[in-house]
């Protein structure tokens, strides 16, 4: 099986770098984007399986990015990162087609498991 191609989107640089490194060390192919716009640009150039997306970001916020991603790449699965959980944005995110959410600080094992389920879903849908 090919490596899972993950795009992590978060405006906190340290968090982003750490998470991308840890995912790569765990045998995945992860890249990072510091903003929604950067993420969308990267997705235009390269195919990703799973997007891990921070809900609260300056500029284009996570839900806006999610809407755009699901519109343009409906098969890409999105996992939301919520700072301190908010029911309304959680419901909204699920309604917009997010696969799942993870509360920050994200537990790596939990996140990896969700990434794998999201990837499995993408494969099932494409087959």
């Amino acid at each position: 099986m090919d490596l899972v191609r993950i795009l992590v989107v978060d405006d906190e640089e340290d968090f982003l770098e750490t998470l991308v490194n840890r995912l790569n060390r765990r045998g995945m192919s992860a890249q990072g984007a510091l903003s929604g716009r950067e993420a969308l640009k990267m997705m235009e150039e390269k195919e990703f399986d799973v997007v891990v997306l921070d809900v609260r970001m300056p500029g284009m916020d996570g839900l806006e990015v999610l809407r755009e991603v699901k519109n343009r790449w409906p098969f890409v699965e999105v996992i939301l990162l919520t700072g301190h959980g908010s029911v309304e944005s959680g419901i909204e995110g699920m309604r917009l087609g997010a696969f799942d959410y993870v509360m920050k600080p994200a537990d790596l094992e939990v996140l990896i498991e969700k990434i794998q389920q999201a990837r499995e879903r993408k494969i099932l849908r494409e087959s």
């Binding site: 699901k70 409906p74 098969f75 919520t82 301190h84 959980g85 908010s86 029911v87 959680g90 419901i91 699920m94 309604r95 087609g97 997010a98 696969f99 799942d100 959410y101 509360m103 389920q117 499995e120 879903r121 099932l124 849908r125």
Partner: protein, 310 residues
């Protein structure tokens, strides 16, 4: 019909009294019984005029609301069938489109290998055929987008640990209820065999039910979440709240699209109808038990594996 009779009675009774006073006063006045009947006539006529006015207004308002609801129902049925229609059309168009594309390619090939002949504008023909190819590709993109839109609504069945999925959603809602006098009680059956279902769909259902439970409670209260596996493998998830409950007359319409009793701007009236739609697609059932003033219990029942092949 019964409903409109009840409505008539509800709006009719408040002005029935004044109207009687008016008529009675009028009768006494005709017999020449002095000033009290006259007061009754004036008093009664003012009150009953007000009653008639409010009755007419409420009847008109009720009519308007019913008409609005009909339109909205139609709309949501339209939305539901839109997905199927879209997928159907996209499929039907894809085949002829593929043939047009192939023929255009073949024409292009024939034209480009043809020896130049007198009076044949080969370059223009080639350009024209290429343009056909370009436009066919554009149409193909459109149909693919339409298909993926329709496919987005199709459930994808994956192995799901129900207790974990439910707990994830409970935790999210708990961050909102903490410190607000709402206690969350977990009653999960352990262990529980995983089931095959659509995880994001079930998450959406759980979030909606939990959020409704939270909003039904004013002040202090309790939300209890139960999971149970039935003997045949089916799973039941119950969300019970000690909130305001649902009036009996609302129960039959609670899963209808756009039916809402929440304050304006607080709910779209779509939450429960979306839940109903999702649970339906997952091959399950959803129902509610409610006691006004005591609370409501929503139960979602899901099969261990979907009946139809996915």
């Amino acid at each position: 019909m019964l409903k409109s009779t009840i409505e008539l009675a509800r709006y009719g009774i408040p002005w029935l009294g004044p109207a009687m006073a008016f008529l009675g006063g009028l009768a006494l006045l005709a017999e020449g019984k002095g000033q009290w009947p006259a007061i009754a006539v004036i008093f009664g006529s003012v009150l009953s005029a007000g009653g008639i006015y409010s009755l007419l207004r409420s009847l008109r308002k009720g009519e308007k609301e019913r008409a609005l609801l009909d339109v909205r129902m139609l709309q949501s049925h339209k939305l539901a069938s839109l997905g199927e229609l879209t997928a159907g059309i996209a499929h039907e168009i894809n085949n002829p489109l593929a043939i047009i594309g192939r023929e255009a390619e073949w024409l292009e090939h024939l034209l480009s290998t043809m020896p130049p002949a007198e009076g044949v504008p080969r370059k223009e023909l080639l350009e024209s055929v290429r343009e056909v190819g370009v436009q066919v590709n554009r149409c193909r993109e459109i149909t693919q987008n339409l298909l993926s839109f329709a496919r987005k609504m199709e459930p994808i069945f994956q192995k799901v640990d129900v207790n974990r999925l439910v707990e994830d959603m409970v935790k999210l809602v708990e961050t909102e209820t903490q410190g607000k006098g709402i206690e969350i009680v977990r009653d999960y059956q352990q262990p529980m065999e995983p089931i095959m279902t659509d995880p994001p769909g079930l998450r959406q259902v759980m979030l909606n039910l939990l959020n409704n439970a939270r909003q039904a409670i004013e002040g202090r209260g309790q939300i209890t979440i139960r999971t149970r596996a039935l003997e045949d493998g089916r799973v039941q998830i119950a969300v019970e709240d000690t909130g305001c409950g649902i009036p009996r007359e609302h129960l039959p319409r609670i899963f209808d699209p756009f039916f809402t009793t929440k304050a304006h701007g607080k709910g779209t009236g779509l939450g429960l109808s979306i839940c109903h739609g999702i649970v339906d697609r997952l091959g399950g059932r959803i129902w509610v038990r409610s006691e006004p003033g005591l609370g409501s219990t929503f139960v979602v029942e899901l099969p261990a594996t979907p009946k139809r092949a996915s």
